[in-house]
């Protein structure tokens, strides 16, 4: 037992950044992409790793009227296919697009595993649920790069994640290439760019400015 010396060192883990590229592909062509990814990524011999997550986004707002526009979002995830797994809070910072020379979007990223009463706890802290969805798809990794090919489902009746209650959004799959790494590792962006070139022309992975979508 290390004793008290261990605790403070674990409290101050270097800030992590997420490097992200996104794109989409029509459902009909997903198989071709999956086969290519299987060839490019690690663990080509094993079967696809799937995931099925319920994500609820919680918002904390300032109640003073002058600062209504200020808020913080916590994304709470829970694996529907592994009910015993811990829940998971993810905080994402403001996205930095950078200039043309920067290959990916970069944002602060904090992942915290927690006990499963997190929804009630956040509500009690003053958070309100903003929106929720189910993400179902397949997960690949190559080195520390992570590739997700997934689909977003809307909950028809709020609160129930029963498959009958899910409605798919759109006719395409989302494709995400991301790496979570400590601050200041710009090299990883280049690696991601090279990797994304190999998926063309099936899917064009780009850095999207989410603020422009709103």
């Amino acid at each position: 037992m290390e004793g008290p010396a261990l605790a403070p060192s674990l409290k101050n883990i270097a800030p992590q950044q997420e490097y992200l590229l996104q794109g989409s592909i029509l459902d009909a062509h997903t198989d071709a992409l999956l086969h290519r990814l299987r060839g490019l990524c690690d663990n080509a011999e094993s079967s696809f790793e799937t995931f099925n997550d319920y994500e609820a986004v919680y918002m904390l707002r300032n109640s003073s009227t002058t600062q209504q526009s200020q808020y913080v979002l916590f994304r709470v995830r829970h694996a529907l296919d592994i009910p015993d797994a811990p829940d998971h809070i993810r905080y994402l910072g403001q996205a930095e697009m950078g200039d043309r020379t920067r290959p990916t979007l970069v944002r602060a990223c904090l992942d915290v595993a927690c006990s499963s009463n997190v929804r009630e706890f956040l509500t009690e802290m003053g958070f309100r649920m903003d929106h929720d969805y189910v993400a179902k798809g397949i997960f690949f990794h190559k080195g520390r790069m992570k590739v997700l090919v997934y689909k977003i489902y809307r909950l028809i009746q709020p609160g129930s994640t029963d498959p009958k209650n899910l409605e798919q959004l759109g006719n395409s799959h989302l494709v995400e290439l991301s790496v979570v790494a400590p601050l200041g590792q710009e090299q990883i962006g280049e690696d991601m760019k090279t990797f994304s070139e190999q998926l063309k022309p099936l899917v064009m992975l780009e850095k999207f400015d989410h603020r422009r979508l709103q």
């Binding site: 004793g3 109640s63 009463n117």
Partner: protein, 205 residues
Amino acid sequence: MGVSCVYSYPVPEGRSGAQVVDLLQKQVEMLGGIKAGTFLVDCETYQSVMLNTPKTLHILHNSEHPASCFAILDSGATLVADTLFNGLMSNLKNYYQARKGAKIESKGQRFQLSDFILKVGSVSLAGSMKGILVEVEYCPSAIAADCWNLMKELLQSLIGGVAESPPRSLKPKMEEVYTPATTMLQYLNHFNNFRTAAAMSQPAR
């Protein structure tokens, strides 16, 4: 990991806290306790700002669970998370602010006595000693009701009548499977008492 009970041990007048801690430690060693490292439980308190209903959030750490962080609201709702939860709190600094000078901790020697772990901690608030907390853990059991009598016997030989009945936050959970969150609730209760006592003893300005 087993069932833990935490008691506050009064410091008699005319004695310093350090003397009493020393005495307790000697007593544990007389019982056959063997020194097994040190321990630390700390608590930081955050106050909500700009929220309609004011809320208090306590963030506790325990060296016994070095990768975890315990967040407890006034209502007793407890969230167990990775220590990275501290990082989340710093992103909430516009909503929850750390109360100044409210950091309180209990630290001291940890002893092993066959199936028991005993901890004698001195409590300090903003750098000054406020009291003594004694924790006894009985490792082989997970249900407090099953081992309370056994623990009581050991506790009474050490701290006497203070341990007449189970701690307040443990009482409603005697029949349930014990979790480390209950230990933290016990510590928080004691910490809050020490803080109230410290606020009372301060001269009014």
